[in-house]
Symmetry: C2
Subunit: 396 residues, 2 copies
DNA sequence: AGACTTTCTCCTGTGGCAGGACAAAGCCCA
DNA sequence: TGGGCTTTGTCCTGCCACAGGAGAAAGTCT
């Protein structure tokens, strides 16, 4: 058991750890500058961190015209586990303390099988990753689930697409199994944290991160911190009404955004297009696979299929309509589009942009980038690792 | 010149001042408990504040079974000025350091006359209030304007209904005239702060405050702090699309919420109802005044006029539709409805509630109170005083 | 009148903290 | 190769933040 149990003893140490996490190896002098702390004071805190083993001094940096500095860095032995549970698949990854992904596994899965079955699979994947690396255990784990979470307790609440998970003590159960601290959050929030940590949102303070996968959700970041709302359901935009008296939705209402777009709706619409004889391309794929998925639509669109392109454009337009309202309301500095459908690429992005730029207030859109996430499937697991490291790298 | 120039020297002092502002006179012992600071340490900071004159010790509190405590309180000589500029009227008020309104004036006004004319009027009103009280000057002033503000500089940016104000250095100009620190914010944000300070939102951390006056706006409070967005236009929900391809709006788009509701639209619709012979009640009022305002609709509705009630219901429904999306997105713990149209009362509230409770996610609405603001016209000026006091009662 | 409570002040020891002095270790240039 | 300059890191000193205890002051209750 080489697992680290030490925690920062004060705010200075916590900040030091985060600086080292996000900035890599750094000299004492630089740390002092960035923390706005005297060198003497800083040296004391660094020494204490060195004593705990959370941090090590290794090697000398190149000279900058004077004495060479010692590199202070986070212990290379630290390992975080990031788990991203989707509706139909799981991602599990190991990172070092700098949140770089050292190993990553993706497997199909069905959340509806319930927490016990899912965790069995997750733990097997984690064990495989652990075996392939030098780690003998994890120092912390972050986990994302596709539904609202009561964050302080780490418990899913009333998750629509996860029957059997309601009230399941995810945090406690996983912490027991893994023998390390665990934090639980909504998968969309983790994607936002991932893109903020290592993706397109690195310098953004207030931004939205729209995840279009099986369903549609939106991570909200305010002042660099994820905003979760009063009951943990903030950002749940899939059931915002996109069409008055529109299509019936699984949630019981009518006209919800998710009834028109997202992986599930897209596959349904694609199959309908085949039935109506509107797409030979999609028909061939349906023939081959027996059913269609969002990826089929993406492939057909890439091949120039008109029906597929129309589906994407219509979905993007609907999403853009909802997003336009949210942009006017929230006035973000950046909008990131991510999730499984990023394969739909530029067609989707163009449709969303058109709608948002047309409908939102000019002041809110004047300098608003709307971009695709750049981390893909790594966003969620990176965000998960960031979640637990934020927790561990905070004052005890 | 008895004006206070002292400022808190550290975070402890700043917190002390806010505790005294919000909690009234308090003993040293209680302050120590609430600040989680030792009595000895606290005594030092209190003594320093006493030296500055920001705080005084007057009188003894009733005994609680032992030695009687000294009441520590904010200097009763402190005076804040709160200014709330609307589209068609100004509110100016003086408060003490506890943000209690000591004097309050309302006058009709037209923002479109530009900042110079408006400030002349505001300064005259301030002078009148100053003359009626013991104050010889103001220790700070907060001012709200009906449009987006670049908050750090205190300058309106691209305000649609305030031509001539764009880029005008409101903060600097007013600070010069009044000879005291000034802070500027959007009027809706100030209403939210007012309701949080002394109204229905006293215990709320994350809430929305919808102001329906001439236009429609929404104050967003996250973790007890007003969220202003990247360019200061957050909460500008008047131009969210409520109806695809709907009525043309002054902003150039179609179907905006403000094209259907708010004081201007309501008056227009009421006059249309008269032309179509749908309301004798409103016709009589139009006859008498030459034109109709939102208050006429409120009065007609109170008298049971069916057309007026329909107008309110329809406006409330439309507002509720938009709000339903925002509630799903933001998951607030409270929604406050305020502004000029609160006179529309329960009919409006019922229409909004119906729509939100029907359309938003159950998890987001499960325990969500939607209530009318309780401060009325005092909300804005109280929020303005709160704004400047927050600024002054923060570490120098 | 005496016991008990609460409030407030004073004292002392510990530790946070900045800044200067100084040593160590490098660079550059003659 | 040596001297001047720069950067880094350590040590020392003095100031202030802070907690907790002792004790005085001012009450209540029996």
């Amino acid at each position: 058991m080489r697992r680290m149990t030490a925690r920062p003893a004060n705010a200075h140490q916590a900040r030091l750890l985060r600086l080292l996490r996000d900035g890599g190896p750094t000299s004492r002098a630089q740390l002092g500058d960035r923390m706005d702390l005297s060198r003497s004071r800083l040296a004391v805190e660094v020494d204490r961190l060195l004593d705990t083993g959370l941090v090590i001094a290794d090697g000398l940096a190149a000279s900058r015209g004077g004495r060479r500095s010692h590199n202070i860095r986070l212990s290379p032995a630290l390992r975080f586990l990031g788990v991203d549970i989707g509706a139909t698949s799981v991602d599990v990854a190991v990172t070092n303390a700098e949140l770089e992904v050292l190993g990553h596994l993706t497997q199909p899965m069905d959340v509806r099988e319930g927490p016990v079955a899912v965790f069995e699979q997750v733990l097997a994947m984690a064990a495989k990753l652990r075996a392939s690396g030098p780690a003998e255990g994890f120092d912390g784990a972050g986990i994302g689930v596709p539904g609202p979470v009561r964050f302080p307790e780490g418990v899913p609440v009333a998750p629509p697409i996860m029957p059997g998970w309601d009230g399941f003590p995810v945090r406690e159960a996983l912490s027991q199994e893994l023998g390390c601290p665990v934090m639980v959050d909504n998968d969309v929030n983790l994607m936002a944290m991932g893109e903020q940590q290592a993706g397109v949102a690195r310098s953004a303070k207030d931004f939205l991160c729209v995840k279009i996968g099986t369903g549609i959700g939106c991570g909200i970041v305010v002042g660099g911190e994820v905003y979760r709302g009063t009951t943990g359901s903030a950002g749940d935009i899939g059931h915002i009404q996109a069409e008055p008296d529109g299509r019936p939705c699984a949630c019981g209402n009518r006209g919800c955004l998710e009834a028109y777009f997202g992986g599930a709706a897209l596959a349904r619409d694609a199959e309908a297009a085949v039935r109506e004889g509107r797409s030979a391309e999609l028909a061939a794929r349906l023939e081959a696979a027996g059913r269609l998925a969002a990826t089929d639509v993406a492939a057909a669109a890439a091949a120039g299929d008109a029906a597929a392109l129309d589906l994407i454009r219509e979905g993007g337009t609907r999403t853009g309509q909802v997003l336009a309202s949210l942009v006017s309301f929230f006035n973000p500095g950046l909008v990131v589009i991510g999730g499984g459908v990023t394969g739909l690429g530029h067609t989707l992005l163009a449709a969303i942009r058109t709608q948002v730029y047309r409908q939102s207030l000019p002041l809110a859109t004047g300098n608003l980038p709307i971009v695709l996430g750049e981390l893909g499937p790594v966003a969620g697991v990176t965000g998960a690792a960031r979640l637990i490291s934020d927790h561990l790298f905070s004052p005890a």
